[in-house]
Symmetry: C2
Subunit: 486 residues, 2 copies
């Protein structure tokens, strides 16, 4: 038993030995993905895909509650359509996959596989929007997109990835800006409540905004190694795309006006974010809201009389209450099972053996903290159900959130000089730096060049660390969050 556990866990590289290898080990050992013959693409396996399905369900419900409707656009964009908005095509053309032939025939015009769908939505809007009565359109689609990356990593950067892309169009700039901020808030709320992942909301600098956007907003999360991961973005387009695509509507005054647009998206990247925010040396640690299995029941000495029967009773009780529970009554050893479900990040493990039955109790172990508690098996298992529900709904997500927040706090430093930034990075390794900035792109570039950390965002929640730019010493406009990023 001990040997089995040993063997399994030893197959994972320790987190602080080699974080990148630890990550790769987890995505494979927890059976989230498999590599394929298709370079830069991956198979998302049932356990990984189930996490994505839970994310989809939670987000899709939020989108629909705020009035959004799902649609489906073609996956192809003709070259001439991609080229309609100048900045946009410059940003995306270098990394699109080009379809040049249908069967054996060369296409008259080549088409790319969508890297994102602004141009397709605009083409459609131009077709269906004529009057103020047609506005707003609040659309979303769940699809995959393709960006021909050179270097790929599962979930974090792959040639094809799954995402949702919201695309909305409004009569006024104010409405569009409200939408942009609303969706950023929905993402932040989802990350913090459902994924137990603290995020920092902010605006991207000019150099870092989406190709074609007036303003890009993002949520940034700190991974366990101190690097940043952009977990979601929301873009405000003004009327730039509308002008490029000649989308106009007749207002109440009958004047033709350009509408204002937004787009926003999150992707399977969030699975990578979960791994690197919550994972540990025993494997994955999943937030209960998106865990395919929320509680696993492991019988101890299951050959002993009554053990499997009792375990099955607990299973039926929890299942009937809507908890995603699994009973593992396979003939693997308990030790093997413990290691297996730790690797898979199952939030709660329930152990039940002959001694427990004697004492009319079971033991619940919490994955993220390792804490164990004894639970009395009273009438109708009311205490068991209440305890597990409370763990899944409140204690575990809050505890995981606090733990991640504490990690971020301990690795965030306010710096007022370039030397201080370098010092912080040398002393603490990768971390978040808060430092003031004059707003000049030259300074932004220089900070990155000299210290290695780039601007992640201009946080909405500003702290005034000094009056002057950390780089040039001129008057500072804003505090920027700086970090290395995935």
């Amino acid at each position: 038993m001990a040997k089995n556990k040993q063997k399994m866990v030893s197959e994972i590289t320790a987190m602080n030995m080699d974080f990148a290898q630890w990550y790769t080990d987890i995505v494979k050992k927890a059976e989230l993905i498999a590599y394929t013959s298709v370079k830069g693409c991956m198979v998302i396996r049932p356990y990984g895909y189930a996490i994505w399905e839970h994310m989809q369900h939670i987000l899709d419900t939020k989108f629909k509650k705020t009035g959004h409707e799902n649609v489906n656009m073609p996956m192809f964009i003709p070259e001439s359509l991609l080229q309609k908005e100048k900045d946009h095509v410059e940003g995306f053309a270098p990394e699109v996959a080009w379809v040049t032939h249908g069967g054996s025939e060369k296409l008259e015009e080549r088409v790319c596989v969508r890297p994102t769908s602004e141009t397709l939505f605009c083409d459609h809007y131009a077709d269906i929007i004529h009057s103020y009565r047609d506005l707003p359109k609040l659309y979303n689609q769940w699809v995959s997109v393709v960006r021909w990356e050179k270097t790929t990593r599962p979930f974090l950067r792959s040639r094809e990835f799954l995402w949702q892309e919201g695309h909305t169009i409004h009569a006024t700039a104010e409405e569009a800006m409200e939408e942009t901020v609303q969706m950023l808030n929905i993402y932040a709320d989802f990350c913090e409540k459902s994924l137990a992942m603290p995020v920092i909301k902010g605006q991207k600098t000019e150099s870092d905004k989406f190709a074609g956007a007036v303003a890009t907003y993002a949520i940034e999360a700190m991974m366990h190694d101190g690097k940043a991961l952009q977990a979601g973005t929301s873009h405000y387009f003004g009327d730039g795309f509308a002008k490029a695509f000649q989308i106009q509507f007749a207002g109440k005054d009958n004047q033709l006006t350009y509408p204002h647009q937004t787009s926003w998206g999150v992707s399977t990247r969030l699975i990578g974010a979960i791994i690197m925010t919550h994972g540990d040396d025993n494997g994955l640690v999943l937030p209960p809201a998106v865990a395919p299995i929320q509680a696993v029941i492991v019988p101890i000495a299951q050959h002993k009389e009554g053990v499997l029967e009792k375990a099955a009773e607990l299973y039926e009780t929890l299942k009937a209450q809507g908890i995603r529970v699994k009973l593992d009554d396979s003939d693997n050893t308990p030790g093997w099972k413990f290691a297996q479900y730790e690797m898979k990040g199952v939030p709660v493990r329930i152990e039940i053996g002959p001694k427990d039955i004697e004492n009319n109790q079971c033991v619940a172990a919490v994955r993220y903290s390792g804490e164990k508690q004894t639970i009395a098996l009273d009438d109708a298992y009311a205490t068991l159900f209440a305890t597990v529900q409370q763990l899944l709904d409140t204690q575990i997500p809050q505890g995981m959130f606090e733990k991640a927040l504490e990690n971020r706090r301990s690795k965030t430093f306010a710096c007022t000089t370039m030397e201080a930034i370098q010092q912080a990075l040398e002393t603490h390794g990768d971390c978040f730096i808060e430092a003031m900035w004059c707003g000049d792109e030259a300074c932004e570039d220089k900070v990155k060049e000299v210290t290695g950390v780039g601007s992640r965002c201009i946080p909405f929640e500003q702290h005034h660390h000094s009056d002057t730019c950390v780089c040039c010493g001129k008057p500072a406009k804003q505090m920027v969050l700086w970090a290395k990023a995935y």
Copy 2:
């Protein structure tokens, strides 16, 4: 009011004037799709996509109940992978879209956009299946696929379409065959119960089976014009793909063995099938299980005191009971609204006006039959709720099914000679022909050449119409269903 209705309805071509144009009018006027700048592809608009979402939800639940898990495979297939199974590549290569460049760089090996994913699943199975303990794998994915068709029609044949593709792999041929039949039955049950669309289950002839399959099973439905539409397929592969991809597992006896596979799929084609099975000259007629709006409340003389309040009460009552209900209190006329929701195929319309309120009643009109009934508005609207629920759950789906079945019965003819087939087609127009067949492909081809109807399937439910082949007069093996098809 009458004028508005007139105007709207007149925009649809009458079904028996020009069935193809009637179909095209409906997909546009009911706002199911929009055309795009992307040749052969379409936008599925919110109302169309919502129908697909309801289909997905019902089917996905059935798949999961029968032990299937969702995964996600890459959308690209490298050319060398596509070529591994000889029949398969021959069947699909002429109609795939080839990606030849990533950004400005030519790819070392070109990749196609998946037309179907057998090769990708096999590639993955070879990677993860080693022992009998790894079997079965019961996988499914919800994705879009691409087939570079020359002539396209919304939902029925487009270059990209949405579908689900199940891919399973089993230790024995028997298990794989059971799965093949199980999934065909699930599809048939879904079509008949949820879509109110009668189908005929059967096996495809050799010449018509899937590229690479040992046997292909299908469900065939009759459209209103007497043509057939293949509504779903389920394929049994034997171990052919396993051999081509070198998928082997060690059995309990430690012998290396080739496993047996299946695949099965339904697509957004089913939306086209709904239109052509149930639609009429007023537009779409939706089965309640997949209708985005199941009941619409139209207030009459809504400016009169109390009407909108009462309408809102009915709305809240039905909504609270889980019915997908809409209250249209816009300032369009009731006549306009009647025509609008008839066009959109909403199963039940509820009218409430001052006279109804006086009499403590409302009126329910059923879309498919045009029948109206008066419903008493008693305490807590219990009768209203019960009546509407009964309409949606039972009466309407059963009535629609019977109506479609009656159409099929009236257009199905048993023929024992080629002349009889020609006579039936001349007299009745497109229809289903039941005729005996010797099993020889030459006769199959000749029937099509001479009469215009092709073999749709060899129905499971056989009728013995004669002893001899309808074409050559030699001993008959089976009854074949013949028809023109979409």
